[in-house]
Every structure is written in structure tokens, then in C-alpha cells.
């Protein structure tokens, strides 16, 4: 397979196209502009459409329309732009439409800055929008993984009729790494016989809708979503466990920061400290199973984030009081350094072992 050197953002676009995505609706925002720009260039020759919407809200609602019409469709943005899409995402989840939403997170709150951050974990994993809904959230840690997860995201979206989020950060979006494009892994997908394509006078109208005015109709509908979420939890949870057997401390980190932790693992090794890593690949469903078996040696979990502490909530729920949960984070666009992580680990272990 040919190796290419590619920016994360471009790789997202290329992977989406490879996965059969022919419709993209977006709005510019740093640091993800190369995604719409790539799609604007590549889709028209393929007979697809790129629309630069008038806003993030318009974009997500165009996605709703296109997904309802049966297309593989994607949108992308970054933190404040994703905040604007929350109502739309809630509609898409409620109407059970498949689509892929990319968030290359930047530093926040407010306008914040444009440097990488991971402070949209809450917004991604537990409904930034209204109501009881979730969506699978993938957090790639390399460009290669980005490509694979974007392809997977389209399959998962279609398989479960759900929006799927790719949660990267400015670093994933802007960095280049070498990457290969394998053939997408195809699932056995149900036919989109619910899509609005015109009745052709041959069947009853298809209706895409999230309104259920009667509680006794809405409640079972939500239950249907919840049941689906249980299946996703069971079948789609992904994580990686590194160096965890007998670890003194187990770090929990996702996306780019998991790579910082890998460097910290090496540095710890040099000092005779065993640092483990649980790397959630799906943030929702959160890989609670990864936390089940821990060695009696392990003193604590350490959530390392480019935020003021968001995933740490899930780590606490996973730890369930068995061992302490510690947190180390940098924010505002700063990236934790391996040495800082090592220092924190030593701190947890009482000033070194």
C-alpha cells in the first residue's frame, strides 16, 4: 500500500471519500479548515457535493436533510462551531439518522484560542444538546488511526442509524504523519428503506421526524434509543491497554495526549517506575471494562487531559472507589509535557518510589 504524508485534516477528508461519503456540509473554522477545503476540491470531480453553509447550524441541518435522504454525509468544525450544532445533533440522534461529525477541538471556553485542547469531552460524550441521547465518539491518536476510525465511523453510523463523532484536536488536524489507506471494513448494513427518496407512488410516505407529542409514544421511542445504546456499549467499545500489569500508576488518556503519556512511560521506566496507560478509543461508550482488572500494586488512576478535567468523571465512575483517581491537565492550548506527567506520577507515589 502506498504511504502518504498527510495532514490529519486532509486524511479525514480522504478517508471519508474512501468510505463512500459524497456529501459534505461545513463552515470554516480554525484548526479544521483543511477538511472543507479538501472536500471542496475533491468531491465535485466525483459527482459529490460540497456546500459551504452559511453557518454551523445550517451545516448540521443540511446534514440532517442529506442523511434523511439516504446519503453518507459528513460535517466538521471546531469547538465553538460544534457548540452551535448541539440542537441539530440532538435532532439527528432523535431521528436516528446516520452521519459523521468531526470536532477538531481548540482551546475554550468562549472564543478562547485556536491551539489544541480536549475541553469538549463533556459536550461530546454526554449530550451538549437537549435530551437523553448519546453518540459513539472516536478519539484517534494518530493520522493512521484517524483514517481507520473515520471509515469505521461511517459503517457504525449506518449500522446503528446514529450520528458518530470523531473527536480530534488541533494537533491531530494540523500534524502530518505517514498514512496508508486500507480498504474500508464493510459491515452488513441494513437497507436505508426509511430514507426520503420519493414514494414513487409505490409505498406509504417515509417520514423523518423527532417529534412525538404524546409521552406514551415518546417514552418508548427514547427506550428504543436506549436499547440501541446498550448494544453499542456491548459491541463497539474500543480501548487500548499498555503496560498495565502491575503498574504503579495507570494513566488514562485519549487522543494526542495518550502519546505524551507514552513518552512519560519511557521516562518513568528509566526511573524504575511502572506507568500504565488505558487509552479509550471510544469515549462514548467509555471503556469501563478496561478498569475492571487492576493489580493490587496499582496505587491510582491518573487522568491526563488537555482540559481542566472532564474525562476524570468517567474514570471516577470506573474506579468506583477502589483506588484514588488523580488528575493532571493543561489547558488553554498548552500541551502537557512528558516530564510534567512523570512529576505528577512521582507526586502520587509520594515523591518517587
Amino acid at each position: 500500500m502506498e504511504k502518504l504524508l498527510m495532514k490529519g485534516n486532509e486524511a479525514v477528508g480522504a478517508a471519508a471519500i474512501k468510505a463512500g461519503c459524497r456529501h459534505f456540509f461545513g463552515y470554516p473554522i480554525t484548526p479544521q479548515n483543511e477538511i472543507p477545503e479538501y472536500m471542496a476540491k475533491e468531491l465535485p470531480p466525483l459527482g459529490g457535493t460540497f456546500v459551504q453553509a452559511e453557518s454551523e447550524i445550517a451545516a448540521i441541518n443540511m446534514v440532517y436533510g442529506a442523511a434523511g435522504a439516504g446519503a453518507r454525509v459528513m460535517t466538521s468544525s471546531s469547538s465553538p462551531g460544534i457548540a452551535l450544532k448541539q440542537e441539530g445533533i440532538s435532532y439527528i440522534a432523535a431521528s436516528e439518522l446516520p452521519c459523521v461529525i468531526v470536532n477538531m477541538m481548540r482551546s475554550s471556553p468562549g472564543l478562547g484560542g485556536i491551539q489544541p485542547a480536549q475541553a469538549d469531552y463533556f459536550m461530546a460524550t454526554r449530550g451538549g444538546g437537549n435530551g437523553d441521547y448519546y453518540m459513539p465518539v472516536y478519539a484517534p491518536a494518530s493520522i493512521q488511526e484517524t483514517v481507520e476510525l473515520v471509515m469505521e465511523a461511517f459503517e457504525v453510523a449506518d449500522f446503528y442509524c446514529t450520528p458518530v463523532m470523531i473527536l480530534g484536536d488541533g494537533m491531530i488536524g494540523q500534524m502530518m504523519e505517514s498514512v496508508e489507506f486500507p480498504e474500508p471494513k464493510k459491515r452488513n448494513l441494513p437497507a436505508k428503506d426509511w430514507a426520503t427518496v420519493g414514494t414513487g407512488g409505490k409505498r406509504k410516505p417515509n417520514i423523518i421526524n423527532s417529534l412525538r407529542i404524546e409521552p406514551d409514544v415518546l417514552e418508548p421511542h427514547i427506550q428504543k434509543l436506549l436499547d440501541k445504546y446498550e448494544v453499542i456499549k456491548k459491541d463497539e467499545t474500543l480501548y487500548e491497554k499498555v503496560n498495565c500489569e502491575d503498574a504503579d500508576v495507570i494513566a488514562v488518556a485519549y487522543g494526542t495526549i495518550s502519546r505524551v503519556v507514552r513518552n512519560a512511560i519511557k521516562k518513568c521506566e528509566e526511573e524504575g517506575i511502572k506507568l500504565g496507560l488505558i487509552r479509550p478509543i471510544t469515549l462514548w461508550p467509555f471503556p469501563f471494562a478496561a478498569f475492571e482488572e487492576i493489580s493490587p500494586n496499582t496505587k491510582a488512576f491518573l487522568s491526563v487531559e488537555m482540559s481542566a478535567g472532564q474525562m476524570v468523571d468517567d474514570v471516577k465512575i470506573a474506579a468506583n472507589g477502589r483506588i484514588p483517581v488523580e488528575f493532571y491537565g493543561r489547558y488553554g492550548g498548552n500541551v502537557p509535557k512528558p516530564d510534567e506527567v512523570v512529576a505528577k506520577v512521582k507526586d502520587i507515589l509520594g515523591g518517587g518510589k
Partner: protein
Amino acid sequence: MSLVFEKTKGLTDVPFHYCPGCTHGIVHRLVAENLVELGVLGSTIGVAPVGCAVFAYNYFNCDMQEAAHGRAPAVATGIKRVHPDNVVFTYQGDGDLAAIGTAETVHAAVRGENITIIFINNAIYGMTGGQMAPTTLIGQKATTAPYGRQKEVQGSPIRVSEMLATLEGAAFIERVSVDSPGNVRKAKKAIKKAFECQIQKKGFSMVEVLSTCPTNWGMTPVDSLTWLEENMMPYYPLGNIRTPEED
């Protein structure tokens, strides 16, 4: 004995939930009849708004999508870009289209998006109980304009059709009314032209329909028609505002 009028097959059998005398029902019929007469019902995809017409997806006998409040033109764009040869229309109220959905409406027109918008201007937020709409007339009372709309406080009502007509992408725009049998017939023709414009891929088309809301205007349905004629029509003059050149 020949049948002069019966309910169109373009509508389902579900009875309308609209209040007695609400002209939403008339407009539904006109849209549906046109889709049938143009032979495109089976290839049509409609988009329902949030507003009193929120259940429109139960009424039109074609594929339908329910949009978030104000976003119907964006939803329609998404659909149309996937199925450029299908007929795609939205059905929207004045709150939906001219308030929260202003950007989506304007930019569907800017893009010359090849869709048709049926715009129900009843000068009020019907569904939520009579709040002021951007098209509420000066002096008209609404629950959020209890002292009547004042130019100095809430500004003057927006003439959406005239505003959109400044955009090159807007191929067909006409304002009609459904206050009398004659105007209903004209309205039907305008809606037909709008759909034809789309079928011929000439770009964005919109028909603004002056409509009543007896419930929130606090009048009988019959008085509402008179109020529409006497108050709305002078401010919102009927007529064609844009037509594709070849026509």
C-alpha cells in the same frame, strides 16, 4: 353528475389538527393538488417546519422530513443536493422562516437553491400562543407585544418577499392570499408556477401566502379574513415579484 371538487390524493386521510377556519388547511390543499396535477407527488420530498404546521408530515402524501425550528431551507438543501431531480419543498410560518430561520432562508435564495418554499405569513406565532412575529403589523397586539407593535420599540414588519427579490438567486417570488375563492385560485396558480420553476431547474422559488390565525388574532374565522384584507394586504401587496426570464 360530474365531480367538481373532492379531496386531493396529494393529502393523506389524517384530519387536520388546525383550529376551525385556520387557512393553513387551504394552503395544504393547494400544495398537494399542484403536486398531483404536475405529476410529481411520487418524487416529492417535503420539509415540515416547527410552527402550527409541525404535523404537516402527517398530511402530505409524499416523503417528508421534520426540520428544527427555522432550519427547513437548510434541511431542504441537504435533501436537494442528494436528490437534485426530486421536487423538494418547505412549508414554513413567519416565525420559522422570517425570525429564527432568516439566515437559512436568505442563503437558500443566495445559493439559488433549486427548492420551493411555501411561506405562511399569518403575522403571529400561532403554535406557541400568539407571540409577535417579524411580520406582525404596527399596532397589532400579541402576547409579547401587549401594547401593540410599535415602530420605535419593535421596528416595522419585514417584507420577506421584497427582501429576497433583491437576490439574484431568487428565480420566482410571488405573494398571494387565501382570503377569498378568487384569491385561493390565484394562490394555486402561483404555487404551480413555483413548482414548475423548480422542475425546470431555474432556481429558488417562494410563494408567500397571507394567512389567518383566528385563534391568536382573537377573532372569528370570518372576521379574520376581513382583517387580513383590510390590514395585511395594504402592507403586504399581492402580486408577482420575480419570475424567471423565459416566462
